[in-house]
Amino acid sequence: MCGIAGLIAKDSSNLGYDLINMLKQLIHRGKDATGVAVYEDRDDIQIRVALTAQQYQKDLEEIIERHGSISNSRMYQGEGIFTFYEASLGVDPERITQLNWDIDTHPELCVHSLGRHIKVYKDQGSAEDLRKRHEMPPAKATHGIGHVRLATESVENINFAHPFVSYIHPELSLVHNGQFTNYFNMRRKLERMGIRFKTNNDSEMAAHFLAYQMKEKGIDLEEALYLALDTFDGVFTLLVSTAHQIGALRDRLGIKPMLFFEKDGGAVLFGSEQICLTPIVSDVYATEMDPGGVMTWSV
């Protein structure tokens, strides 16, 4: 099933927690894993990595130091077996993609986010567990997206949970509700173009596809989403975020739900169900997105 939520709220200091509160209302749509991607108003490059065990910290720092310097690092235990590593990096922005892939090639490490603005917190369990385990340092945030997962397509592992990021476009994150029935064909096609995959999850394909179109082909988010609408097969609702935009895409049959509500003052809320908007705005009537629709909002 899965549930998605999104929020554009200019200059919010607790946007991550707001998103978690929204996801809490969607617990009936899945509680295998919960994740949020928060876009903060800062310019340094930050990294978040999941390690299968603490002992791999050395390997991780060794890889990072080949590309740049580390500051303000912290490590903590997640809800399950995974340990989380977070740090600010002094890295040449040009080298982020390479660094991201270098870490991902290590079988015990997985990059959850690496780049300017973006921070992805994802862990197993419900939104409540995510809030309990992951402290989000207060920072001015502009927008974010979130997801609750009911694992239907691949294994129950937090690296397979949403939001997905792509090493091709470090600031892009994606949450997906649905299934891509042409995943294997698309994956083969992308792999022939030289794109490498970290997981077997179909949503990772969508992240790489959009990242590739935007970074390599140079098209904007809206065009990329229209292209995805024509290329992807199956039932899907996507929320895609970049540093300055949120885009939404709904399949042509309108199987998977998607609601949005534009509040006065520029805030926009997205969600699978009306109830997930209630922690932010009580009792409003949200608009249902049109099947086959593509919409983008600038932040």
């Binding site: 009936h28 179109q213 229209y226 309108g254 009537y285």
Partner: protein
């Protein structure tokens, strides 16, 4: 009158309790609804149940007899496969209101989502606000009345039944195999009596009906998705 507090109860417990209460009580007031799913599903009997709050999915599915008044919103599939009785939603509902309904009346005072009255076979669905797309999709019978705007593809592939609309732009939003026809006197009277019963004050002059072009079994063309922009990768 009896008061039922849902705090800490699972939908299964609630429905078990309701089944017991409806045997003897005429009026049941329900508090702390906390968007409960499957409220009063397959409830048989006579009585009035008033919910002070909102409910989740499948409110009053397979309902047979009682009157359900929801003072808040309801989620998807309100009155799914309802057989008899009434559901009155004071605010809005989610998508798929009254799908496959067989009898009884559903009144939605606010707006409803997509596919309201999907596959309806009998009974009445009245929406005082707007509805989403594909209202009355594949309807086999019954009556849908919409006072607000209708979405795209209204009456898509209807087999039987009727949708009464006020929306002046309904022609531009018709689905496949339906046409707009004037409302006849018999229908007017029936709708008027429904309006009177539920205290809806709207004149009947502007109403029009959406009915199937061909009744019963027919061949229909699949609707074509609209391509707006972009192309193959």
């Amino acid at each position: 009158m009896v008061r039922l507090d849902l705090k800490g109860l699972s939908p299964r417990d609630v429905n078990r309790k309701l089944k017991e209460l409806i045997k003897t009580e005429e009026e049941i007031e329900v508090v702390n609804t906390h968007s409960i799913h499957n409220f009063a599903t397959a409830l048989v009997g006579q009585g009035k149940i008033t919910l002070h709050g909102s409910t989740g999915f499948y409110t009053g599915g397979f309902l047979e007899g009682p009157t359900l008044i929801v003072k808040g919103n309801t989620g998807w599939y309100t009155g799914d496969n309802m057989l008899a009785g009434e559901i009155i939603v004071e605010m809005n509902t989610g998508s798929n209101a009254a799908p496959s309904m067989l009898g009884g009346t559903v009144v939605i005072r606010g707006n409803s989502g997509s596919r309201a009255g999907w596959g309806m076979k009998g009974g009445n669905l009245i929406v005082c606000g707007n509805v989403g797309r594909w209202t009355g999709k594949m309807t086999l019978g019954g009556r849908i009345v919409v006072l607000g705007e209708v979405g795209e593809g209204v009456g898509e592939s209807m087999y039987n039944g009727v949708i009464h609309v006020l929306d002046p732009a309904a022609e531009e939003k018709l689905g496949g195999n339906v046409k707009v026809a004037p409302i006849d006197d018999k229908e007017k009277k029936e709708v008027e009596s429904l309006f009177k019963k539920y205290g809806i004050e709207v004149g009947m002059e502007q109403f029009r009906s959406i009915v199937p072009k061909i009744y019963g079994r027919h061949e229909y063309k699949l609707f074509k998705p609209t391509h707006k922009k972009g192309g193959q990768a």
